[in-house]
Amino acid sequence: MPEASVAIRCRVNGDDVELQGHPMTRLLDALRRELHLTGTKEGCGEGECGACAIMIDGRLVNSCLVPLLHADGAAITTIEGVAQGDRLHAVQEAFIAYGAAQCGICTPGMVLAAVDLLERTPHPTDADIRAGLAGNLCRCTGYVRIFEAVLAACGRRPAPSTARTLP
């Protein structure tokens, strides 16, 4: 008989956690339901839209396509782990300043994709930015503000006025 449940250990946003579940459980569901990290969104649920993007071992992945078993031993960063304490990441600041969020469903994935892009390519070209965000779909803003925000985050547009802290 198939095993009902496995226990895996991983590090999520710096904390060691143990997760239990069927090995095919989507990591997306484990993060949201077990750890209540609901910043990670489900959009299409088939790896097309990027709303569920997280970082695993430093690489951007769609958590809807990762079975729980593959998270064993992984270091995971979700949108909740992008800010350093009260200090928002430059990408988050820029998204606020440039109005790059509307309904917000795509925003966590967009932010993570942009953070990942800037870590790999600190001085991206316009084409780099478009390619870096190509796996993330937004159905509200039309991408222009998102694109502008990423330009701002890498210093190619005026920076947001002042550093902001979370309330």
Binding site: G50, L60, C64
Partner: protein, 287 residues
């Protein structure tokens, strides 16, 4: 409707030996599961066949790219991201790197594997046309031993492969020495990123003076399998790529491919675009 997890088993042995032993104990019962970019999509839509899956993800023996004197060996678990980044592949096998760069977005490229792309056997897969152009050979492994299959003989029909029930793909071997060939890769889809191909074209030609000494042509999304166009190649080999050769290549191509109407495109469009891509490639071979 999403699948019901208890209908599935997913196990991750610690090493390749463990995987092969598990599969050998019940050949055909265990299906390999790599990065999940295809199988999890099926799982979520309730279309993944029920049963036992053995995870290959993270197996060291199936990972990595090795450049030897005569060939480059790519572990089946190598991701598109790692293919894109590899210096030898970038300089000698640019079509494969371009295919990797045009497969899904970054998040898919970080999980999708070359072996998975082959074994999923979609006729619309993006890396196989490049592999065909480079005369790839597959190294298959089972508990009984290893064997090699030329990639152009591997796909035998829609979703059918020369892969025995206890075998998995271990590595892909690419012979070196084609860096000077003129080559091109073109994926035609509805949009620039994240598209599934309507037509995917790869070609490479060894041109000397005005003659095409040797040539490889491969296409995706125009037949039940990703296909090497042997007739079109034969029509061009040893010839000057002039208007007459273009015409015979176009006729020969119609023998190689059998496009259909489906949700992404039509047979007519695919036939026309496939031929145009070939003619464009040929037109650029000589000044």
């Amino acid at each position: 409707m999403r699948a019901y997890p208890p209908h599935y088993e997913l196990r991750a042995p610690n090493d390749l030996q463990g995987v092969l032993t598990l599969i050998a104990d019940a050949p055909g019962k265990w299906r390999p599961f790599a990065g999940g970019t295809d199988l999890m999509v099926l799982f979520e839509s309730g279309r993944l066949p029920r049963g036992k899956y053995v995870s290959l993800w993270g197996l060291r023996e199936l990972s990595g790219i090795e450049a030897n004197t005569g060939f480059v060996a790519i572990g089946a678990l190598t991701t598109y991201t790692d293919i894109r980044a590899h210096p030898v592949l970038r300089s000698e096998f640019p079509l494969l790197c371009q295919a990797a760069a045009e497969t899904g977005g970054i998040a898919t490229q970080n999980r999708g594997t070359i072996g998975g792309n082959i074994a999923n056997a979609s006729p619309a897969a993006d890396s196989p046309p490049a592999l065909l152009v480079y005369d790839a050979e597959l190294e298959l492994i089972s508990a009984r031993g290893a064997r090699r299959v030329p990639y152009h003989l591997f796909h035998t029909g829609y979703k059918r492969m020369d892969l025995r029930p206890d075998e998995i793909i271990k590595r892909i071997h690419l012979p070196r020495g084609r860096a000077s060939w003129r080559q091109t890769y073109r994926k035609v889809g509805t949009r620039k990123a994240q598209a599934i191909s309507k037509v995917c074209f790869a070609a490479a030609a060894d041109v000397e003076g005005e003659l095409v000494r040797d040539i490889r042509i491969a296409l995706g999304s125009v037949a039940p399998i990703v296909i090497r166009c042997m007739h079109a190649e034969a029509a061009l080999r040893g010839r000057r790529p002039d208007a007459e050769a273009h015409a015979s290549a176009r006729r020969a191509l119609a023998q190689d491919i059998s496009p259909i109407d489906d949700i992404r495109s039509t047979a007519d469009y695919r036939m026309r675009v496939a031929a145009n891509l070939l003619i464009q490639f040929l037109s650029e071979l000589t000044p």
